[in-house]
C-alpha cells in the first residue's frame, strides 16, 4: 500500500461531529439491487424502519427485497430468545422469497443490547440452509455510505480463496489458512484483478470495458451480481476500489483476503478515471494507450458546463464521503473549493485521491480547500454566512433553509444514487453539479426578493 507521508500542504482538521447525515442502513436500498436474489434484514427499532421508509420513499411499495426485524420491548428485556425469534423471521423470509443470501444489518439497538449475531449465524445457516452475512452498520460507528463498506467488508469472509480453489459459496472455515504449500514463483499463477464497490451492472460493464481496452481483464467484483459468484481472493489477486468510502473493505481484502491493494484516485470525473485506469495498468505492467486523447475529448464535450463553474466558489458540508473526489473534479473544472466537510477521512485509503486533489489545485492555481473531518453543521452555517459561496453541496436537512437565505445548494444525496463513475458519466455528473446554477439563471422573478433576506444561521 502506498502511503504518502511526504509533506503535504493540505490542512485537515476535526470538529465536533455534530452534522447531519443519513443512517448507514440506507445502503440496503442500493445493495439489494446490485446483488440479485439477496435479502437484507435490518434488525432494529421503529426508528430505523421509519427512516428507511421515509428516506427511500416509493421504493418501499415495490416489494423490495429488504425488511425490518423490529425489536419489541420483550426483545430488549431478553424475555424473548433472540435465536428463536430470528429463526422464525428468517424462515418466513426463506419461504416467501427464497433468497440466495440473507444479509443481516445490526443497528444501534442490537449493538447496545449486545446481540451476538456473529455467534448465532453459523447455527442459523445450518438450520435454514441459507448463507447469512452479518454486518454491523449502525449510527454509533458509521455514516451513510459507510454502511456499504461494512457490508462488503463482512462479505470478504464469504469469498473463497483462489489458492485453494474452494467454491465461493463455501462458508468460511475459521482457522483454515490458504494452502501452506509454497507457491511456485513462476507464472503458474496469473495476477488477477478484482474490483470492489457496488455499482449498477451497466456501470460496472462500462468500467470493465475501459480496462479491457487496455488489456486488463476484470476477474470479479465485490459485491458480485449474484452471491454465488463472489470473487476468489488470494495472494495473486489485486484489488482496487471504485468508491472513496470503502476503507474497511480494502483493509479486509488485504488482511483477511490476502489480496494486494492498488492505491488510486477514484474513477469519478475524466481526470479521476484516467488516474484510476493508469494506476491499475501500472500494477499489471501495462502502458496505457489512448487515455490522454480520450480524456481530452471528454473535457472538450464538458466545456459548456465548465464555463458555468469557472471561478465559482463551492462549499461541501459533508455527508457521504464522496467529497474529496468531487472537490478534485470541481477544481479541475475551474471552480474554487472553499471547504470540504467529510464524515470520516481514511488518509491511507484516500492517499492517492488526496494527492491528486493537491496536485489539481496547484495545476489550476487555486488555493487548497480546508478539509474538515466530522464537521459541525452549526459552525459551518456561520462560515457559509461569512463566505457566501456560489454553491453549497449539502444534505436535505439544510438545502431548503439555505436556499431561503439566498444560498444556492445542491443535495449531496443524489451523487450516491446517480451514475457518476467513468468517462461516460462525466457529463451527467457535471450536469448534476451545475443544475442549480443553471436553474438560478433561468429563474429571475423571485430571486431578488429571496436574496434580500438576511442570512441568519440557526
Amino acid at each position: 500500500m502506498n502511503i504518502t507521508n511526504k509533506t503535504s500542504d493540505l490542512t485537515i482538521s476535526c470538529e465536533t461531529g455534530n452534522y447531519h447525515t443519513m443512517c448507514p442502513i440506507s445502503c440496503v436500498s442500493w445493495l439489494y439491487q446490485t446483488i440479485a436474489g439477496s435479502f437484507f434484514l435490518v434488525i432494529g427499532t421503529k426508528t430505523c424502519g421509519y427512516f428507511l421508509q421515509n428516506a427511500l420513499g416509493v421504493m418501499i411499495f415495490s416489494s423490495p427485497r429488504y425488511a425490518m426485524a423490529e425489536l419489541e420491548e420483550a426483545d430488549i428485556s431478553s424475555q424473548l430468545n433472540d435465536f428463536k425469534e430470528l429463526k422464525r423471521i428468517m424462515s418466513q423470509i426463506k419461504s416467501d422469497r427464497n433468497p440466495s443470501v440473507i444479509v443481516c444489518i445490526l443497528t444501534c439497538t442490537p449493538e447496545i443490547i449486545k446481540m451476538d449475531l456473529e455467534g448465532m449465524a453459523p447455527l442459523l445457516e445450518a438450520e435454514l440452509n441459507v448463507p447469512i452475512v452479518v454486518a454491523r452498520a449502525n449510527g454509533l460507528d458509521s455514516a451513510f455510505t459507510q454502511g456499504e463498506d461494512v457490508v462488503l467488508a463482512a462479505m470478504v469472509g464469504h469469498c473463497g480463496q483462489a489458492a485453494q480453489g474452494s467454491t465461493p459459496s463455501a462458508l468460511p472455515k475459521p482457522g483454515v489458512r490458504p494452502s501452506a504449500e509454497p507457491q511456485p514463483e513462476g507464472n503458474s499463477e496469473v495476477k488477477s484483478l478484482v474490483l470492489f464497490g457496488s455499482l449498477p451492472s451497466s456501470l460496472a460493464n462500462q468500467l470493465e470495458g475501459e480496462l479491457k481496452r487496455q488489456g486488463v481483464n476484470v476477474k470479479g467484483w465485490l459485491p458480485s451480481a449474484r452471491y454465488s459468484d463472489l470473487p476468489l481472493l488470494g495472494e495473486n489477486v489485486y484489488v482496487c476500489g471504485v468508491n472513496p468510502y470503502l476503507s474497511r473493505t480494502a483493509t479486509a481484502l488485504i488482511r483477511r483476503g490476502h489480496c494486494k491493494y492498488t492505491a488510486s484516485p477514484f474513477p469519478i470525473g475524466p481526470d479521476g478515471t484516467t488516474a484510476w485506469i493508469t494506476s491499475i495498468c501500472k500494477t499489471f505492467g501495462i502502458v496505457p494507450t489512448g487515455l490522454i486523447e480520450r480524456e481530452a475529448k471528454i473535457w472538450e464535450s464538458l466545456r459548456p458546463s465548465m464555463d458555468l463553474l469557472k471561478g465559482k466558489t463551492v462549499f461541501f458540508m459533508g455527508d457521504n464521503l464522496l467529497e474529496i473526489s468531487l472537490a478534485r473534479f470541481l477544481v479541475r473544472c475551474g471552480a474554487v473549493v472553499l471547504e470540504v466537510g467529510i464524515p470520516y477521512l481514511d488518509r491511507r485509503y484516500q492517499s492517492a485521491e488526496l494527492a491528486l486533489l493537491e496536485q489539481t489545485c496547484k495545476d489550476m492555481g487555486v488555493p487548497l480547500p480546508r478539509i474538515i473531518e466530522k464537521p459541525d453543521n452549526y459552525f459551518q452555517t456561520i462560515r457559509i454566512k461569512e463566505l457566501l459561496p456560489d454553491l453549497v453541496i449539502t444534505g436535505l436537512a439544510h438545502a431548503n433553509p439555505l436556499e431561503a437565505r439566498g444560498i444556492t445548494t445542491k443535495w449531496s444525496i443524489e451523487f450516491t444514487f446517480a451514475q457518476i463513475h467513468g468517462y461516460s458519466n462525466s457529463a451527467a455528473l457535471l450536469e448534476l453539479l451545475t443544475r442549480p446554477l443553471r436553474r438560478n439563471n433561468n429563474l429571475n422573478v423571485s430571486q431578488g426578493s429571496l436574496k434580500q433576506q438576511n442570512y441568519v444561521p440557526g
Binding site: N18, T21, T45, T47, N54, L140, D141, N205, R213, G458
Partner: protein, 535 residues
C-alpha cells in the same frame, strides 16, 4: 421481533419533535446516534420549511457508550442556550438512548443550574420529555409531549402566581393539537379560524403551531378548548378540564353535518358559560355574536350548508347520481377515517364496505363512531393486511393513506388520500382544507374526481379507447431498415436494462451514432461511445 416492511405511525421521538418544533423559539435536543437526525429532513423537504429545524442531536457514539453522556449532553444544552436563546430547550431520547437508562432528567437539572449560574438574566427553561419508545407511537408521544409542556408552564405560573385566570369578555377558545407535518393542517387551521370568526369566537391561542411557550399561562383566558383531531391535543384538553374546569369539544368539523354539530356544541358550551357566570353575562350584553344566538346560528348553518358551500347542492345535482351505491374502502387515522366514513354515507350516499384505522389505541372510540355506517371495521397497523382486505372486497374506490394509494395502483383502483402518512404531494400549496365548509367542497371534489377517473378507465376499456398498437414510425431503426445495423447479444442485453421510457431514445441515438461512424455491428463499446458523443 416483528417482520415489518412499512408502518403507519413513526417512532415516539418524531411525535415529540413535531410538537417542539411547532412552537416558536423552542429548541429540541435529541439524544441518539447520528442517523437518528432525520427529522430536519422531513421538516425541510415535506413541509418545505424555510428555516433550519430547531432540532440538534447530542450524538451518541462509542465514546459516549464508554464514558456516559452527561458531559456531552450538558455541554450541548448550554451551547444551544447561548447560540439560539430559546425560551425552552427540550431534551428527548431516541429508542437507542432510552435503553441506556441514563438519568437524563438529572442532566436537565444540572444544565438548568449551570445556565442560571452563568447568566442570571437567562429565561431559558429546560425540560426533559421522556416517552417509552417501545410502547408509544408518534401520535401518542406527541399528545403526551404537548400535555407535559402545557402542564409545566401552567404549574410554573401557579407557583409564580402569574397568569391568573381572566376569562376574556367575549367568547374565545384555544385550538389544541395543530402542528407541523400534519395532514393538511395549515389549511385546516386557516379554515377553522374562518369558521370561528364567522361565529364570533375569538381564538385565544393555537397550541403548538406557531404558539409561544411563554404565553401558555394565558391559555386559561379562553372559555373552552377545541381538539380538532384526536391524534394529539386530547390529553392537554383533559388536563385543562380537570385542573381549570375548561370544557372542550372533540367533534371534528369534517363534512356539513359534523361541521354543524361542531358549531352547535361550541354554541352550547358558550351559552352555558354565560348562564353560569354573571361576569360573562355582563360583558356580553349588548354584543351578540352568533355563537350566543341559537336562532342566528341555525340560520347561519342553513345558509352555509345550502348556498355558501357547494357540497350539499353538488350531492343533490344529477351529476352525482352515479355515486349511488358505489362501494368504497376507507382507512386512515381514527379522526379522519371516521369523519370521512360518516360523510360518505350520510352526505354522498356512498356505500362504505369497510372502514378502518391504524390507531389501535383508539379502537373503541373508532368502533363506536363508525358502527352502523359500514359493514366491516378493520383495526390494524399491518399494511399488508389492509392490502389483502382491499383485494378481497371488490370495491370501486379506496380512501386511505399513501400506502393504500399504492395498493390502489397495484389493483387498478382509484384512490383518494384522506389521512397521514402521506407523501410530499399531499403538502399542497393551494388552499385545500378538510375542515369546515370549504373543506366539504374540497372533499366533494376529491371523492367525485376519484370516481370519475375510475369511470373513465372503465369506459376506455369497454370501448377499447386506448390505441395499443405500437406506433412504429417513431422509431428511428424501422425508418432506416435499409441499413444493415446489427446488435450483439451483450449490446441488446444492455439495451434491455435501460428503463423503458428512454430505451427507444437510447437505441435511436446509438444507431444514429453508429451510422455516422459507419459501424454496422453495435457492441457494448459502441453504446458507451454513443452516450459520450451525445452527452
Amino acid at each position: 421481533m416483528k417482520l415489518a416492511y412499512w408502518m403507519y405511525a413513526g417512532p415516539a421521538h418524531i411525535g415529540t419533535l413535531r410538537v417542539t418544533s411547532s412552537f416558536k423559539n423552542v429548541h429540541a435536543i435529541m439524544h441518539g446516534p447520528i442517523g437518528d437526525s432525520f427529522f430536519p429532513v422531513l421538516s425541510s423537504m415535506l413541509s418545505r420549511s424555510r428555516d433550519f429545524a430547531p432540532v440538534t442531536t447530542s450524538i451518541l457514539d462509542r465514546h459516549v457508550l464508554a464514558r456516559g453522556s452527561q458531559e456531552k449532553v450538558i455541554e450541548n444544552l448550554r451551547r444551544k442556550e447561548k447560540e439560539e436563546h430559546p425560551d425552552l430547550i427540550v431534551l428527548t431520547p431516541t429508542c437507542t438512548s432510552s435503553i441506556l437508562q441514563e438519568d437524563l432528567q438529572n442532566f436537565v437539572i444540572a444544565a438548568k443550574q449551570h445556565i442560571v449560574q452563568n447568566d442570571l438574566s437567562s429565561e431559558c427553561d429546560v425540560l426533559f420529555i421522556d416517552s417509552n419508545h417501545y410502547r408509544l407511537n408518534e401520535h401518542q408521544a406527541a399528545d403526551l409531549a404537548l400535555e407535559q409542556i402545557v402542564r409545566h408552564y401552567l404549574e410554573k405560573a401557579k407557583k409564580e402566581d402569574t397568569g391568573k385566570s381572566m376569562r376574556s369578555p367575549q367568547p374565545s377558545c384555544n385550538i389544541l393539537g395543530m402542528f407541523t407535518l400534519g395532514f393538511h393542517s395549515q389549511h385546516d387551521l386557516r379554515e377553522l379560524k374562518n369558521l370561528l370568526n364567522d361565529l364570533g369566537v375569538e381564538v385565544n391561542q393555537v397550541i403548538p403551531e406557531g404558539g409561544s411557550v411563554t404565553a401558555i399561562k394565558n391559555l386559561r383566558n379562553a372559555w373552552f378548548n377545541i381538539v380538532p383531531f384526536r391524534d394529539a391535543g386530547l390529553m392537554t384538553a383533559v388536563y385543562l378540564a380537570k385542573e381549570f374546569n375548561m370544557p372542550y369539544t372533540t367533534i371534528t368539523p369534517i363534512g356539513l353535518i359534523d361541521t354543524a354539530a361542531f358549531a352547535r356544541e361550541i354554541s352550547l358550551i358558550c351559552r352555558s358559560a354565560v348562564a353560569s357566570d354573571s361576569a360573562l353575562l355582563k360583558s356580553t350584553t349588548g354584543f351578540s355574536p352568533l355563537i350566543l344566538n341559537q336562532e342566528g346560528l341555525e340560520k347561519y348553518i342553513e345558509k352555509q350548508t345550502s348556498f355558501v358551500s357547494q357540497a350539499a347542492w353538488f350531492n343533490r345535482s344529477v351529476d352525482s347520481n352515479n355515486l349511488t351505491g358505489k362501494r368504497v374502502f376507507v382507512f386512515g387515522s381514527a379522526s379522519h377515517s371516521a369523519s370521512i366514513t360518516k360523510l360518505l354515507v350520510r352526505e354522498m350516499g356512498v356505500h362504505v364496505v369497510c372502514a378502518g384505522t391504524f390507531q389501535k389505541h383508539d379502537a373503541d372510540w373508532f368502533t363506536h363512531q363508525v358502527s352502523g355506517f359500514c359493514n366491516k371495521i378493520l383495526i390494524t397497523d399491518d399494511h399488508s393486511q389492509v392490502a389483502d382486505v382491499i383485494a378481497n372486497l371488490e370495491v370501486d374506490a379506496i380512501f386511505g393513506t399513501q400506502s393504500e394509494r399504492h395498493v390502489g395502483k397495484r389493483l387498478n383502483l382509484p384512490c383518494g388520500v384522506i389521512s397521514a402518512p402521506v407523501h410530499i404531494q399531499n403538502y399542497p400549496m393551494g388552499f385545500k382544507p378538510f375542515l369546515g365548509y370549504e373543506g366539504a367542497n374540497q372533499i366533494a371534489d376529491l371523492i367525485y374526481n376519484s370516481f370519475a377517473l375510475g369511470m373513465e378507465e372503465h369506459m376506455l376499456d369497454m370501448f377499447k379507447g386506448h390505441d395499443t398498437a405500437e406506433i412504429t414510425s417513431r422509431s428511428y431503426s424501422s425508418d432506416a431498415s435499409s441499413t444493415k445495423l446489427e446488435w450483439t447479444k451483450e449490446a441488446l442485453a444492455e439495451l434491455s436494462k435501460i428503463p423503458g421510457f428512454v430505451r427507444s431514445k437510447v437505441k435511436r441515438n446509438t444507431e444514429k451514432y453508429a451510422q455516422t461512424k459507419q459501424i454496422n455491428l453495435i457492441t457494448l463499446e459502441v453504446i458507451y461511445d454513443a452516450k459520450e458523443a451525445v452527452s
